[in-house]
Structure formats: structure tokens, C-alpha cells
Amino acid sequence: MTLRATILAVGGALALAACTTTGTDSDSATATPPLGADGEVPFASTYDAYPGAPTALVGATVYDGAGGRIDNGTVLFRDGEIVGLGDASLATDGFTRIDGSGKFVTPGIIDIHSHLGDYPSPSVDAHSDGNEATEPFTPHVWAEHSIWPQDPGFSRALANGGITSLQILPGSANLMGGRSVTIKNVPARTVQGMKFPGAPYGFKMACGENPKRVYGGRGRSPSTRMGNFALNRQKWADARKWADGERDKRDLGMETLAGVLDGEILVHNHCYRADEMALVMDMAREAGYKVSAFHHAVEAYKIGDLLREEEVCSAIWADWYGFKMESYDGIPENAALLQQAGACVVIHSDDENGIQRLNQEAAKAAAAGRRMGMTIADADVISWVTLNAAKAMGVDAMTGSLATGKMADIVLWNGDPLSVYSRPEKVWIDGALMYDAMDPKRKPVSDFELGQPGEGDVK
């Protein structure tokens, strides 16, 4: 039993969490960081798709991630892209056929909120790289500079959760925690080798208990919620002035904030309480930016109308409850009530274990709503962990649903993905088979695990 984990959960690490979304054109993101002296984008992605065979998944129930369902469907992919989607009549000449009878196909699962790599396993102090908790504003830090690519958590997320893309965020100790990074869930020697090409940066903010507790506990501002807002508003005013100026002197923090004001960096705001989310949306209007998603949003159900009108997603757990004061009004029907209100729902993990079961968490959240009498199609539930997450991360033009021309990020499940009894059987990322339950060697083992007890175990 994880006695220590209990302490952490109650005392701090888990209590520190965050979120964002906009409809920003993701291509513009590459313009955000000024080019380096070498004329290149700093820390640019070096990820390239791994080789894959032209493949036809046939006979399975297909959820396309955008609310569509095809029984006895056919999914064709080649050269890393989806090239066809249809029913059994779709021709499969030239493709390796994989029989999916009795099985299910979904887009790769996407976790919008992860700390894999910046809080890696083993979770020892030497690995605690998620919170630059030395001042309430750290917009200058980038999560990618903390990520340990050898975190064994990546492989568990792949094998058990079918996770193909994820956003790694800084923690939520700070009002402005820094830039997030979106990665493809492929093992790599470097962070650059995992970076999702063309994904916009995200920006982590946190409201509520965490910043005031962390800094108030040290006898410095902010120590109250009003302190949180006062500091944030002043920072945004300063950022506006910088952004409207020459931008000639390098200021890493201001570059990030200007990127937000320019609409190129998507704000992911950790915020639990409904009243506080409404205040943050007002602050965003005042400052001239948009919140892409509220993360943790346990009270989002109280303001589903506001969130719909502002087109802000809620990235939430299915049923986490009562571990901190601002989670006391959490209810399992949160996601379903938001869906009913027409607001954007994303199920997130913020947890190295939960990321292995996002499909299960979505299923629980939907079931809670159905017991209230709401009608929620399974195909829509899948969108909570695929396309909706991609939208809030600004990568929906590239992944998140099964559509011609999109990345071939695909999971073949050995049963209904909304059933507790199902697991991924095969996972493709950009058309490359990166996990295969039927092939012990088609499963990554991190450097850390080599020669250790349980190496290469199915886990």
C-alpha cells in the first residue's frame, strides 16, 4: 500500500494540479519562440514517424472520436496517415488486413493533463521537476526542460491506456507555472524526439488553493484568492505593455505571455470552483486572452451555460472527490451535466496511474449521467478522451479522430473500450505499431528498467 502516496495526495503533490483551449490555428505556434542565433526554432521537434505497413483494420466496431460509430467498419492507413474509413464494402487491396471482429477501434487516447516525465517514476525527490515553486510567476519555464524521457510511466500509459498523445504540464504551485509541451507517446532518447510536430504550446495557470497555500505558507503574496487575482491582473497588464512594445529585449516570461495574448499559446487553467472559473473568464476578457480549458473543474457542472458560451473546455476527473476543500462539491455527474449543457468535456488524468485508464474513467462519468436519465452515446463518450482533448490542445487538425488525412494514431481494443474488461491489443502512432499485446517484444522497456526485477514484464 502506498502510505507515502496517501500523504502526498492529501498533503500536496496531487493537490497541485492545472488547464486551457482555443480554436487557434496550430500552425502559427511555431512562430511563438523567437528564433535562436542559429536561425532555428529552439528545442524543435525531431520526431519522425516510425515505419509502418499499409494496414486495414476490418470487422471491428469503430468509434471515430468525433461522435461517429461504424459497425463492422474498415479503417485504412498507410505512410502514417489514415487514408480510408468506411464500412465493410471499403476495398482493402494493397493493405495488410487485421481482423477486428468482436473488437473495437478508436483514435489514440489523448491525455490533456499529465506530469509523466516531469514527475516521473520512481517519484523520488531527485525526480521532482514539475513545480518551479520558488516564485508565484514562472512563465519563463518550459515543462519540456524537466521531462525525463526514460519515465517508465510512458509505456504503461501506452500499453494499458492506449495513450498516443499527451500534454505535459508544469505543476500548479504557481499562478503562472510555465509552458506545457505536447508529445507523442513514443519512446525517445531526447525530449525533442517525442515532441508533437506542430503542436502549439500550452500555458499553465492555477487559481485557488494551491498558489495561496504555497506562497502564503511562506509569508509572502499571494496568501488569499484576492491576492491571486491582483497579482495575475498586474502581470497581464505588464505583459500587454511588453507585447505592444518592441519585444526586442529577450524576456522569456514575457515571450510566453505575449504568445498567449497573440493567441498562439493556449491557456490551461487549473481551477476547481465554479465561482472562481467565472472570475478567471472575466480576467481573461480584461487581459485579452482566452482560456482554452479549465483543468480539474470539479464544479464546472454549476456553470455549464457560461462555459458553453465562452467555448471553454472542462478537463475533469470522473469522480475524484473531497481530497481538498475546493473539491468538496465534486460529483460523478459533472461530465454528463456539462455535455447536457452543450459545453466541451475532456476527461483528464493528472496521474500516472489514472492515465492508464482514461477510457474507464470516461465510461464511469457517462454512466453516472445515464443514471440521471441523460442520453449519452458511447461514440460521444469516446470524444471526451480523443477529439475534445485534441481541440483543447490545438492539435485537432492532426489527430484526435479517425479521418482521412489525419495521423494514424489508432487503438485496437480487445473489447468495448468503455468496459472494464477491455484492454488495448494494438496501438499505432503515426501508423507505426508501437504496442502489441500479442508480441512481448513490441512493448517499450525504458533504460531505467533494464536489469531490474520485472524487466519486460507485461506490467
Binding site: 495526495a9 496511474n353 474488461y421
Partner: protein
């Protein structure tokens, strides 16, 4: 033959609300009833049986099975389309000891600054009105072993076996077990290394043994044979160990008088010792304690690497309470953690319950999801899982047996408590939830803070009055 309302009619929110009101209007009382035509899982490890009947009379199960005749004088619930199981027994949890984890004033899970350790008794702090109790009850959890987390010492204090009934009496058996931390966590608590925790433990047990002899403390009067069923009364009076006595102790005594007294029944094997331990080598050291203290009645809690030493655990006859889905090397003592741990230990003959799920976040009501995942593993090549019946037993009969209530809790068998949960589907499946929950034959309210919020925010209409008037 009087018929209760059909179960299906109770699944609509309106009907449920009306039912809740009806319950509130009358005091809770045990009912004699039969549930027919249901899929029944008895919790003993066997497979579920369709079209079966469960009969509860006088707060106890009197019969269950396919061809059970329903007496004419009991109410009959048509269970068509439903599943019926014993209530969930949460093997290690802190329900009732806190309201909000991060609000320290509301949180009695641990006492890091206390002058006492082993003597701490959770029964003095339990709050049956905690929302987490109500939420768990609505999730089908009817019984639990509540522990006190080691914090001021490797000894956490004395846990209790409780029921989650909506009444003021939560404790069934106080001082039901002692919990200690070894491994990495215990090492930090004891002074910085495993050597310190093991030395502290040995010294403490010896002090307790000597102190018990000097004072003539009657531990609990139970059997001192390790692994034997605990038959001591559940109706314990005041702790006779917390009494004034003038027994002189050596000048180098480390334990307070109360802490020493609290460990007397442990060293005598009259109170189980739950040892939190993860690493294979630490498990071996824990098992080896019985060479020096033969009466110890051990239960391993955690045991992430248990599968590596499963044969040794089985040979020792020591049960395990494991957090089943841990598959990350979260620490250096969990390098071999795998979701196949429970399946592999069970295959080796170890008695395994699941529990110790992270509190406040992964809640006891999600025990069913955890058990379902163990079934899922049977379909993954190379993995070890459990059959449906075995998986359900890890959250019902097995934890009850470990707690000393074998045959009395966690099982639908004649003579067992009338803890019955009626589910709207396969209880291990994510889409399922309890429809009705009985504890000792008493139907329980399933209303709580969460369900009230759910109903208040069913719509967002405030055109007439603010939401605060909607209650």
C-alpha cells in the same frame, strides 16, 4: 406475500427521491425479504448464478441459490435484470477519519506529533456522518477495516472493523488490528534506515511481552494460534490496557506505558499485525519475524513485489492486502510492481484481498473497478488475472476473512450478516451502480452531499429564485 415496489421503478430519479423520503420518515429497521430472479454472486469466489434467490430474515442471510423456496411471510423483490451481491468489504481504508484530506483539522488519519503511537485507537475518532462514509455506502461498500496511518512512529495504532450503516454506531470491533510501516516509509519514521525500524520493532515487541507479563494485562483473551479465526467478542468494553498501573519498567524503556500495553495482544497473537511492506526482501524480513515472535498474526499490506516471493508468503500462511493496479516503479521498493501481482500471488496459494487504494482520490467505492481490471488481465497474454468470482472475492469474502469475520461478512451464506447490494448490472462493470443497499437487513439511504448537488444542478434554471432555494 407482500411485495415491495419493483426494483426497476426505483431506478428513476423521482422514484429514488420519493423512496429516500419514505426512508427518512421512518426509523431504519431490519426487514425480512427475498430477492428473486436475480443474478447472484455470493462473494465466496464462485461464479455468479442466474435466476437465483436470496432470502434475508432477522438481519441475516438464511438462504441463497437457484432452487430456494420463498417463504410466504417475507416481502419479495423481483430482481429481474439485477445483480445481487454481498456488500463490499474495504480491506484497508480511512473512511470516517476525515472530511477533507487537505483540511488538517478535519483529518484524523495520522497523528505525526502525538506522544503516543501503538496506543492510538481509531474507534475514538470515527465519524459515521462523514460524507465519505455516505458516498461509499451509496457505492455498495458496507463494511471496512479502518486504519490509522503510522506517523509519529512505525506504529500507526489500532484499527477497527466498521459498518457503514446510516446510524450512530459505526464500530463493530475496535482495536481489531495494529498497523506498522516497515520498508522505506517505516525506515524514515524509525530514524533513517530499515535497520532502525527492525530494531525498534523488536525492542517494542519485547517491551510489550515483558510489560504484559508484569502487569498481567489480559490482552483480548483470544486464541494465540497464528492464522486462527478470531473468535473474541465484538462487543468489547473499555480498553483494559488503558488503565492506571504501577508496574515498574526499566530505565531504558522506549515505549510509553500505553504504547507498550497496546502491543501486548500483538505479541501474543491476539491482535493481527498489519505490516506495510512492498519489496521482496522486506517481505522476507517481515515473514521472518515469526521465528522470534512465533505468535504474531501477520497480514502483509502493499506487497507490490509479493509475486516474487509468492511461494514463501503462501507457505507462511500469511494473507495479503494489495493495491492491485500499481504497475509503476513508484519507489525503489516497488521496482517489480505489476498488475499481475494479485493474480500471481493467488495462483501460488496466497490469500489476497485488495485494498489500500489511495484515499480521497481512488475511493473504496471504486473497489469494483479494481476487481474488474483483474478480470481484464485474464485476456492479456502474459498477464495474470482472476476469474470473475475470484476477483469479487478480493473485495468481499477475502477481506472479511482477513479481518476475522469469515463466513459472517462479505458472503451471501446462511448465518452471514444481511449485507446485500442490488446492482443495476454486473457490479464490476463501469456502467453499474447499486440500486439498493442493505446492512444487517436494514435498507440504507443512498442520499448524500453529492446526490443532493446532482439534483440541485440537474438544470441551471434560476429564473424564479437562486439555486440556494432549490432543496
Amino acid at each position: 406475500m407482500k411485495r415491495l415496489p419493483a426494483i426497476a421503478a426505483l431506478t428513476t430519479p423521482t422514484a429514488l427521491a420519493a423512496f429516500a423520503l419514505a426512508l427518512a420518515a421512518s426509523p431504519l429497521a431490519a426487514q425480512d425479504f427475498a430477492i428473486t430472479n436475480a443474478t447472484v454472486a455470493t462473494g465466496d469466489g464462485s461464479a455468479p448464478v442466474e435466476n437465483a434467490t436470496v432470502i434475508v430474515r432477522g438481519g441475516q442471510i438464511v438462504a441463497t441459490g437457484e432452487n430456494v423456496a420463498v417463504p410466504g411471510d417475507v416481502r419479495v423483490l423481483d430482481g429481474s435484470g439485477t445483480w445481487v451481491t454481498p456488500g463490499i468489504f474495504s480491506a484497508v481504508t480511512t473512511l470516517g477519519l476525515w472530511d477533507v484530506g487537505a483540511v488538517s483539522q478535519s483529518n484524523d488519519q495520522a497523528a505525526g506529533d502525538a506522544p503516543f503511537s501503538a496506543a492510538l485507537d481509531v474507534a475514538t475518532a470515527l465519524n459515521p456522518a462523514s460524507q465519505h462514509v455516505a458516498v461509499s455506502r451509496a457505492g455498495g461498500v458496507t463494511r471496512a477495516s479502518i486504519f490509522s496511518r503510522p506517523a509519529s512512529s512505525i506504529f500507526g495504532g489500532q484499527g477497527a472493523v466498521v459498518d457503514l450503516g446510516a446510524d450512530p454506531n459505526m464500530v463493530m470491533r475496535p482495536r481489531a488490528f495494529q498497523m506498522i510501516a516497515l520498508g522505506e516509509f517505516g525506515a524514515r519514521l524509525a530514524g533513517g534506515s530499515r535497520t532502525a525500524s527492525h530494531t525498534l520493532l523488536r525492542n517494542s515487541l519485547i517491551e510489550a511481552r515483558d510489560f504484559g507479563g508484569e502487569t498481567g494485562i489480559d490482552g483480548r483473551g483470544g486464541p494465540s494460534r497464528r492464522g486462527a479465526e478470531r473468535t473474541v467478542s465484538d462487543d468489547l468494553g473499555p480498553d483494559n490496557r488503558l488503565q492506571p498501573n504501577r508496574t515498574e519498567r526499566g530505565a531504558d524503556a522506549l515505549l510509553t506505558r500505553f504504547d507498550a500495553a497496546a502491543l501486548v495482544p500483538v505479541v501474543r497473537g491476539e491482535q493481527p499485525l498489519y505490516i506495510v511492506v512492498e519489496r521482496a526482501s522486506d517481505i522476507r524480513q517481515a515473514l521472518a519475524l515469526t521465528r522470534e515472535f512465533p505468535a504474531l498474526d501477520l497480514v502483509l499490506v502493499g506487497a507490490s513485489e509479493g509475486w516474487l516471493v509468492a511461494d514463501e508468503i503462501a507457505a507462511a500462511g500469511v494473507p495479503v492486502i494489495a493495491d492491485p493496479l500499481d504497475d509503476l516503479p513508484s519507489s525503489f521498493e516497488q521496482l517489480a510492481a505489476t498488475q499481475s501481482n494479485v493474480g500471481r500471488m493467488a495462483a501460488a496459494g496466497v490469500k489476497v484481498a485488495i485494498g489500500g487504494l489511495t484515499n480521497g482520490i481512488e475511493q473504496p467505492r471504486n473497489s469494483t473497478q479494481y476487481a474488474g481490471n483483474l478480470v481484464a488481465l485474464t485476456r492479456v497474454p502474459g498477464a495474470s488475472g482472476l476469474s470473475w468470482g475470484e476477483a469479487f472475492a478480493t473485495i468481499s469474502s477475502v477481506p472479511a476473512e482477513i479481518a476475522g469475520f469469515g463466513g459472517r461478512l462479505g458472503v451471501l451464506a446462511p448465518g452471514a450478516a444481511g449485507d446485500v447490494v442490488i446492482w443495476d448490472g454486473d457490479p464490476l462493470e463501469l456502467s453499474s451502480a447499486p440500486i439498493r443497499v442493505f446492512i444487517d437487513g436494514v435498507e440504507q439511504p443512498l442520499v448524500n452531499h453529492q446526490t443532493r448537488l446532482r439534483e440541485r444542478y440537474r438544470d441551471l434554471d434560476e429564473s424564479d429564485l437562486p439555486k440556494a432555494y432549490d432543496w
